[in-house]
């Protein structure tokens, strides 16, 4: 497991990196490990609005499919197109394989720091 200290985390296992008035969003090491080998990522379009706690896309692995839940409110300014043909990058380097970049509308709420998220993952591990 790994929990970079410079990121914030959602209960549904997305990570958020705040850069000024933008947020970069991906899924965590825990999320990719639970899913297994990722074979498909459904990305939103640039310009789409995203809403905190609402779906903005999905990921599929060999065995499972899962919604991507936005940790923030705002508008998509960029998507990581490289994931369309190489979704396995999320398994290999989950904290480099960002999924979307969002121009924030309002301060993110309800996100955890690394220590709180690590505790959250331990509780999900039974």
């Amino acid at each position: 497991m790994s929990y970079p200290a410079d990121l914030l985390y959602s209960p549904s296992h997305e990570w958020v990196k705040i850069e000024g008035d933008e947020a970069v969003v991906g899924i965590t090491f825990f999320a990719q490990e639970s899913l297994g080998d990722i074979t498909y990522v459904e990305l939103p379009a640039v310009g789409d609005a995203v809403t905190a706690d609402k779906e903005f896309g999905s990921v599929e692995s060999v065995k499972a499919a899962s919604d991507l839940i936005s940790p923030v409110n705002g508008e998509v300014t960029a998507v990581n197109d490289a994931l369309e043909n190489a979704p396995e990058q999320i398994n290999a380097t989950p904290y480099d394989a960002w999924i979307i970049r969002v121009k924030l509308s309002g301060k993110p709420e309800g996100l955890m720091d690394a220590a709180a998220y690590e505790e959250h993952c331990k509780n999900e591990h039974h």
Binding site: G36, D37, T39, Y40, E42, E60, V62, K63, P87, E88
Partner: protein
């Protein structure tokens, strides 16, 4: 729910980081390193699979040949000793109760290998179909089944045992020993690759498993990759592509129904109501078991298995499609998150498998 059953290797799997999950009432390894890595390793080198959950029955005694010929669909008249054959246990209507392999040891001496989920039912069915003079013995608990599959499997097995298995043909087997215990080496499998299904006493399972893994060409492979390997190879899985509502002809296996015996279900085994189709799906999003298959907006079938195919780089699926619609070449699949375009594909999906390779 009763407790999950364990194999002689369950503790080994857990101790070696496998993700475990229930399968057919057993606690089984789904993956160790990852499904894609294990899949590719099996296609390129050799994968080792714990298949101890499957059932093995011995059938013997005067009249066993004739009686078994009526109990299962296999053509035993042309099955020689030292060979095994794939076929079915059918119900009275001709639909599939289970798919299984029959091994002929002698004139009236057989082993039958069945699916874990069906084993108890199969035993009861066979007992009822065989006369009392024919012995039916369930040896599943004392028998460990370990599959070694992949192009390097022959070399690995020969290196471990010091024996030559080049003479064993596809769907042939030999009985030998390893470390003082019986070992049945069967050139069969469920991956489409050159490989062996190996039967040893359960007490020897762990030692045999660890001895095979000492070879650097061998990696343990879980049921996740077993599923993608068999799917790419166009092999059906009972409970998905085969069930009590479809017969072997519908499943595309009418050609192998050559038995002249009056076996249970024979009359109904060739009536076609639906066809099992292989489908290739556009894009990377997978169709899954239970997704509806549409033709011109009308529901004509259902997906039985679907997955991203690691060796093909695309999504493939099996589906039951109504006979009237089965000649179409393109369909729409109503998946959970989208409608997917599907095109009929020839089986096997993956055509470079080494399973039937001639050995010199």
């Amino acid at each position: 729910m009763s407790e999950l059953r364990t194999t002689p290797l369950t503790a080994w799997h857990a101790a070696h980081g496998a993700k475990m999950a229930p399968f057919a009432g057993w606690e089984m390894p789904i993956q160790y390193e990852g499904i894609l890595v294990e899949h590719q390793h099996t296609r390129q080198h050799a994968g080792l699979f714990d298949i101890c959950h499957m059932g093995e029955f011995l059938i013997s005694g005067p009249g066993a040949d004739a009686a078994l010929s009526q109990a299962v669909s296999h053509n035993l008249a042309t099955l020689k000793a030292g060979r095994c054959r794939y076929g079915f246990i059918l119900n009275e209507q001709g639909n599939v109760l289970d798919d299984c392999i029959v091994y002929r040891f002698g004139d009236d001496d057989f082993m039958i290998v069945v699916n874990a989920a069906c084993a108890a039912g199969d035993f009861a069915t066979l007992r009822a179909r065989l006369p009392e003079s024919v012995a039916l013995k369930d040896v599943s608990d004392e028998t460990a089944k370990i599959d070694l599959q992949g192009p390097d499997s022959l070399d690995v097995l020969e290196a471990l045992t010091g024996e030559n298995f080049h003479g064993v043909p596809y769907f042939g087997f030999v009985k030998t020993t390893w470390d003082g215990a019986s070992l049945l080496v069967s050139r069969t499998g469920y991956t489409g690759e050159l490989g062996f299904e190996l039967y040893v006493p359960a007490t020897k399972a762990l030692a045999f498993w660890e001895a095979l893994l000492k070879d650097s060409r061998v990696k343990p492979v879980g049921l996740g990759a077993r599923d993608t390997l068999r799917l790419e190879s166009g092999l059906p899985l009972y409970g998905h592509e085969l069930d009590e509502h479809h017969n072997p002809t519908e499943a595309g296996m009418g050609r192998m129904m050559t038995s002249e015996a009056d076996y249970v279900g024979k009359a109904g085994a060739s009536e076609v109501r639906q066809c099992l189709l292989g489908l290739e799906i556009e894009g990377r999003r997978a169709a899954r078991n239970g997704d509806a298959v549409l033709l011109d907006g009308k529901e004509v079938g259902v997906v039985t298995s679907g997955s991203f195919a690691p060796s093909l780089g695309k999504v493939i699926a099996f589906a039951w499609v109504d006979k009237d619609a089965a000649d179409a070449t393109t369909f729409v699949i109503k998946a959970a998150r989208a409608e997917l375009k599907a095109v009929r594909a020839e089986l096997p999906f993956y055509k470079d498998g080494t399973a039937r390779k001639k050995l010199s």
